[in-house]
């Protein structure tokens, strides 16, 4: 079995997304003692090879979901499958970062990674040194490899946790808020690393409460709100539900609204100094010409494309509030 497992995790297998979704959950629910429902009937499908953003405000149940996927927390009800394998076989192929780094403060970076590598029953001791050095190199920690973890900065700790997730050949990487505590430079590096890993064919499941982050890194996303899944799909399909709008800046809002109406634009909303309407299939330059032709003073005209943020705010209400 050892050899078989190794090969499936090797670049051959990893490079070719196959064998169904990387993660599937059906009705996954966690009710903590005390009655708090952290995750409520979650139906999630994470396609192989995707970079999947798991988005939601703090307290929306992201970490609890990840803990269930890793077998740390038992679901109250529902089912889940990771890589379509039994847990003991799936986990060696999964690299994980859960709720921030946790290491032995009195050990060096290298010794810490050796400790977690020893806990993986499929990892070979003979190759541990090389794999640890490579993982440290990959996150840019080689220079601090011999330093005690106690003396690492927050950013270095976060990098070490990512290095631990990269100790072996992985088919799935689960990263819970990987850019927490990183400076803008570190955040960019993590994003680049995620793209690099995804380019190798590894599925990346990354949770975040930061929208921009998911928008920049991910091919797919799911949005959580108070333990419930409110939307999931490709980034494009998520924002497809919202239509592009045209926004005209003008002191003659009423006139402009009338013109847009006669042009056949839907949902015309005159505001204070501007008018917006659904763009539909209309060409912006024709709208502009029509407005000017009718004597409307156009100060500016813009097409507003919906961003993931609009989807997020539309679905979760206030957006970044903490969920109870």
């Amino acid at each position: 079995m050892t050899a078989v497992m190794q090969e499936a995790g090797a670049p051959f297998g990893a490079a070719l997304p196959s064998g169904g979704p990387a993660i599937v959950t059906e009705g996954l629910t966690k009710r903590f003692r005390g009655g708090q429902v952290a995750v409520d009937a979650l139906d999630l499908t994470v396609p192989r090879g995707s970079v999947f953003g798991f988005l939601g405000p703090n307290g929306s149940g992201k970490t609890t979901t990840i803990r269930m996927l890793l077998g740390l927390v038992a679901p109250t009800s529902g089912e889940y499958s990771v890589l379509g394998l039994p847990q003991a076989q799936a986990l060696p192929r999964v690299g994980a970062l859960v709720e921030g780094p946790a290491f032995y403060p009195y050990l060096s970076g290298t010794a810490n990674l050796a400790r977690f590598d020893a806990a993986d029953p499929t990892a070979a001791r003979g190759t541990a040194g090389r794999r640890i050095a490579e993982a440290l190199e990959r996150v840019g920690l080689s220079a601090a490899a011999g330093k005690r973890y106690r003396n690492y900065s927050l950013g270095m700790r976060q990098r070490l946790a990512i290095a631990a997730a990269l100790l072996g050949p992985r088919e799935l990487l689960i990263l819970d808020e990987p850019t927490n505590g990183l400076d803008p430079q570190g955040t960019r590096e993590v994003r680049a690393l995620v793209k690099e890993i995804a380019a190798d064919g590894t599925t990346v499941f990354v949770s975040s409460h930061l929208l921009a982050e998911v928008e920049q890194m991910c091919t797919h996303a799911a949005i959580m709100r108070a333990g419930r899944l409110v939307a999931q799909g490709t980034i494009a399909s998520l924002s497809a539900g919202l239509v592009a709008r045209v926004r005209v800046e003008t002191p003659d809002a009423a006139d402009a609204a009338r013109v847009l109406g006669t042009l056949g634009l839907a949902d015309v909303r005159p505001g204070d100094g501007d008018v917006t309407a659904e763009l539909g299939g209309h060409a912006p330059e024709r709208i502009n010409a029509a407005l000017v032709g009718e004597g409307v003073a156009v100060r500016g005209l813009a097409v507003v494309r919906p961003s993931l943020e609009d989807v997020f705010v539309g679905l979760t209400g206030e957006g970044f509030d903490v969920d109870g």
Binding site: M1, A3, A8, G13, F32, L85, A88, F103, T122
Partner: protein, 326 residues
Amino acid sequence: MSTAEKADTRAATGDPEAGTDAARRTPGLVPVAETMRTTERHPPEPSGAVPAGAGRPWAFWRLLGSELGLTFRRPRNLVMLAVLGAVPVIIGIALRVVASDGQMGGMIQDVAGNSLMLTFVSFSFLVLLLMPVAVSVVAGDSIAGEAGAGTLRYLLAAPAGRTRLLLVKYLNAVVFAYAVTAVVALSALLTGLILFPAGPVTLLSGTTVSVADGLLRILITVGYVGAAMAALAAIALALSTFTEVSIGAIAATLVLVIVCQVLRAIPELGSITPYLLPTRFTNFDAVLRSPIDTGALREGLLAFGAYIVLFGSIAWARFSGKDITS
């Protein structure tokens, strides 16, 4: 790593699958479909092979090695070993000073008269509290400490496996318990040989035995006291699975030990004392009878075994179903 290299490392590490695997396919040519769906196409091998998900044959020992490395490199544990090693030296010097004053009491006379007796005296003193403290610290910290630091979630996600990790943690505590016992015995033996005359040993029953016989009895004592500490470690381990604060598990274990000592001192409760673990700690004095009171030793060992099974089961039941939320 290429398939050929993989085959090499497997052969080098003595992987039992290396042979069958090589026969199954040509090195360097791995059918894609096979690598993708291997687990489905090759159901768990029949008995003799490593069971599915169990991983490499030496994986358990590698994790135990890692655990022992942490335990025996950790300054806190080394300090405890050093303190326990120092106590027999202090007792020896104190007895030597008292003995040279000329007022020889029973125990003092025994020790001053023979170098081997210091070992038994040291054990009867240390086994009451100091050795239990050292063992409780390591065993009580074992799960709770990892949970508190958050490293437990990463060990289990690795995946260390709950049963496997618990077993490794317990074996580690047992090794530490025997290390503590051995350090006390060696320190007492050396101190005794330096400070007091060597020669035939007079036992509690008045019989005199040879030095070799005396050393054998010390060895039996080490085995017995180590087992006593291993039983205590099982209690501390079980308590350790109930909390994320190691001090809590350690303190709870020691409170249990102290309460038991107090209960033993109450004559009206004589009927329950045989069931209290600390009652059995000092029963190693059975080796000072002639012939050795094997009945008392056997009863003690049975009690230790019962405690290990009981608290080992509690630890397993708790830990295997526990939500790891730290």
